[in-house]
């Protein structure tokens, strides 16, 4: 038994090669179909508990939401979103930065504004604070 590549290749018939390629294609398809669950496809903005905007993440835009303290600016980019500015005192939601996973949430509690990403399969079932 030598590891001579040519001899091993001679054992492959055309259909064998075809099946290997088909098998690898199936793997690639399975990866794409099953492992992209974390990618978000939309964003939901709430103010005072009510949904004020429901947008998809396909193009850039800015959303301005007014709350009790002032105006919160939400920035949407393809595939991600963030709270660009907020009048709140501690800026937690701004410092959270870009949200990129389905189910991720940024909450600006003082101004009663929240930004959450939606997706086919979110990484979280529910979040508690």
């Amino acid at each position: 038994m030598s590891l001579d590549a040519a001899r091993w290749r001679a054992l492959l018939r055309p259909g064998d090669v075809l099946l290997v390629v088909a098998g690898l294609a199936l793997c690639a398809y399975a990866v794409v179909a099953l492992w992209r669950g974390g990618a978000p496809d939309g964003a939901v903005v709430r103010a005072g508990g009510r949904v004020v905007a429901e947008v998809d993440l396909s193009r850039e835009r800015l959303i301005e939401v007014s709350g009790p303290l002032g105006v919160t600016v939400i920035e949407i980019r393809p595939g991600r979103a963030r709270v660009a500015s907020d009048p709140g005192p501690r800026q937690y939601c701004v410092r959270q930065g870009w949200l990129t996973q389905a189910g991720a949430v940024a909450i600006c509690a003082p101004n009663e504004v929240s930004l959450s990403l939606t997706g086919r399969a979110a990484d979280y079932d529910s979040l508690n604070y």
Binding site: R7, W8, L11, V20, L24
Partner: protein, 195 residues
């Protein structure tokens, strides 16, 4: 020793099945010693024997060898009637069914490598279905499908190549099945044939 009153006359076919099953069991036990990153991803080296038996002696003997291997292998590894045994059994049954169909594909185009890959996919398919219905009743098991599919392609290819190589070196027309796998021990003399 008292002579047995029951006389079993093993036929040549019985001895052949026992010999091939013994080779497959050795490979199963040897394989169990290989550390594996993920439960369920195994090279399935014993299937090389099944492929060779299928090509040389037909489907019926391949079924015998494969099922005897699952049974005896699980007994030796202490897995008999454990979940792993049913996963093995369902995988073996599914691949035997697929092999029964695949062996009728045109020989010119599809060789042992094709048989091996198709059987490997049948194996993981059946195991995933059993796991989903019984062991892990949650769609989460399908999350691992890409890993299992890749393992099926890689190990199916490797096992098929080894089987094809052994078949080529055995020269199918010679009709002497003795020099099988390098590790094949001959069945103990006087061993009663499994029936």
């Amino acid at each position: 020793m008292t002579p047995s009153t029951i006389e079993l006359r093993p036929t040549a076919e019985d001895r052949r099945i026992a010999r091939h099953a013994a080779a497959a069991i050795v490979l199963t036990v040897a394989e169990a010693a290989i550390p594996l990153p993920l439960p369920g991803v195994k090279p399935g080296l014993a299937n090389i024997v099944t492929l060779i038996v299928l090509a040389r002696w037909g489907w019926r003997e391949a079924v015998w060898v494969s099922l005897l291997r699952v049974l005896a292998g699980s007994l030796l590894l202490g897995q008999f009637l454990a979940p792993g045994f049913f996963l093995s059994l369902s995988g073996a049954l599914a691949s035997l069914l697929v092999l029964g169909l695949a062996m009728h594909l045109p020989r010119r185009w599809f060789g042992p490598v094709s048989h091996s890959i198709l059987a490997a996919f049948a194996h993981i398919g059946a195991q995933l279905v059993v796991a989903r219905l019984w062991l892990v009743p949650h769609d989460g098991v399908f999350y691992l499908l890409p890993v299992f599919a890749l393992a099926a392609v890689v190990f199916g290819l490797v096992n098929g190549l080894v089987a094809a190589r052994l078949l080529a070196e055995l020269s199918p027309e010679r009709g002497d099945p003795r020099p099988l796998a390098p590790a094949a021990p001959s069945a103990p003399a006087g061993d009663s044939p499994e029936r």
